[in-house]
Symmetry: C2
Subunit: 215 residues, 2 copies
DNA sequence: ATTCGTATAAACGTATACGATTATACACAA
DNA sequence: TTGTGTATAATCGTATACGTTTATACGAAT
């Protein structure tokens, strides 16, 4: 809007909607009306529409022809599918990253784990969790791969937050994080990747079951 | 435009642009001007913009703030990265699909291979090649996974077509296709998935090297 | 000659406006 | 009461219009 915003209005709206969806403020199947969002943000519908197109391809909203957009809902089967994809892609990323990891990477990863020990807010913990994983994968120097993983992660982040607020999974997750990090330090690709895969598919199953149980 | 088109104008434009990019009619780094495209299609800029946003997230175009869109260019490193991702995701899909394959699936897959034997047009061959691979993965019943694979495939399709018009890779690819299909018939997941991975990474390396050599 | 600044044109991003589609409410008939 | 048709409102999708940003051409200064 103002001449100084170096980022486009569409992207600002997409960021806000993304945040509201991931934090749970906007719930699955909730309709997202263009006029309403535009008015609330003080802009017109057009950047709003472009933001919705963006979020559609990210998998966070679903668009129906002439019937508007709703927040995407994921079935338990969808969640396990996404975690299976994550396991496939993240093991690839880790495998390629380990040979390139530096001492500084290990220090920062360890620092993140320690911060996570004390973080009680589920949403913030989830963000730190992503940052930890991303740190493990960045040394692979595969930007497209990282972006795909980020999108998959953000697809299930809502459910992770929801799960974490009900069940205390932190301790077990942290134990696995420390184990994986140690295997990275050792340069032990052969054990690190299956450990990561197990970490992810286990989490996926837990969350899918949780979703199923609560109906 | 007319009241009868059941698909949105944005999607029509996206389809046309996608086709023109994949077929090589629009070349890497070529600018895509909104006004020009809109005038050429006889519509306004707005659906054109939405189509470009869509194609951006598919990785086929790159958008620069206030400087418009260009057809995405992939470096050799990008191509190998995408093939590595494909190998990871497609082996997952195949592994989950094999237990669900039916006799009809095998018949149709074999039919596709035979059609491909006689197809000389590189673009059409590439489309048939995708159809063959998709057929192997559909029984997995993982729609999100299939969609991700489709996007990755379309990202490199241009370069595959380019490669195929210069180098005769058909015979070797067909041999590998027949081998993989036979392993699927046998229900031999343990051999089918590494064979598929080899098929893909080999193709990726060949195409990346080809790109590098021709500058 | 090269560099810098300015004017002009081209292209982008968004607000407004309007026709088309879908949902909702209500009357009427079975 | 229940179902069906129609009128009305709400919402979507796109064209037009306009201000802003970026690129290009040209002239002045070093």
């Amino acid at each position: 809007m103002t001449p100084l915003d170096s980022v486009t209005t569409s992207e600002l709206i997409a960021q806000k909607l993304r945040h509201d969806i991931l934090s749970g403020k906007l719930k699955p199947l909730q309709p997202l009306r263009q006029d309403e969002i535009a008015a609330q943000m003080g802009v017109s519908k057009i950047p709003t529409r472009e933001a919705l197109v963006q979020l559609k391809t990210e998998g966070l909203v679903v668009l129906h022809q002439n019937r508007g957009a709703v927040v995407a809902e994921f079935s338990p089967a969808d969640v396990t599918e996404i975690y299976d994809m994550r396991a496939a892609l993240e093991t690839l990323a880790l495998e390629r990253a380990i040979p390139n990891m530096s001492k500084a990477d290990f220090v920062r990863a360890e620092g993140l784990i320690e911060i996570m020990d004390d973080e009680r807010d589920a949403l913030k913990w989830s963000e730190l969790n992503w940052e930890f994983h991303a740190m493990l994968y960045r040394p692979a120097h595969m930007p497209r791969l990282l972006e795909h993983i980020r999108m998959l992660h953000s697809n299930v982040a809502r459910y992770v937050v929801h799960y974490l607020t009900s069940v205390d999974y932190h301790a077990e997750a942290q134990r696995q994080h420390r184990l994986i990090l140690q295997l990275c330090r050792d340069g032990n690709i052969a054990q690190a990747t299956p450990q990561l895969a197990a970490h992810l598919t286990q989490a996926g199953k837990k969350i899918a079951r949780f979703l199923k149980d609560e109906g």
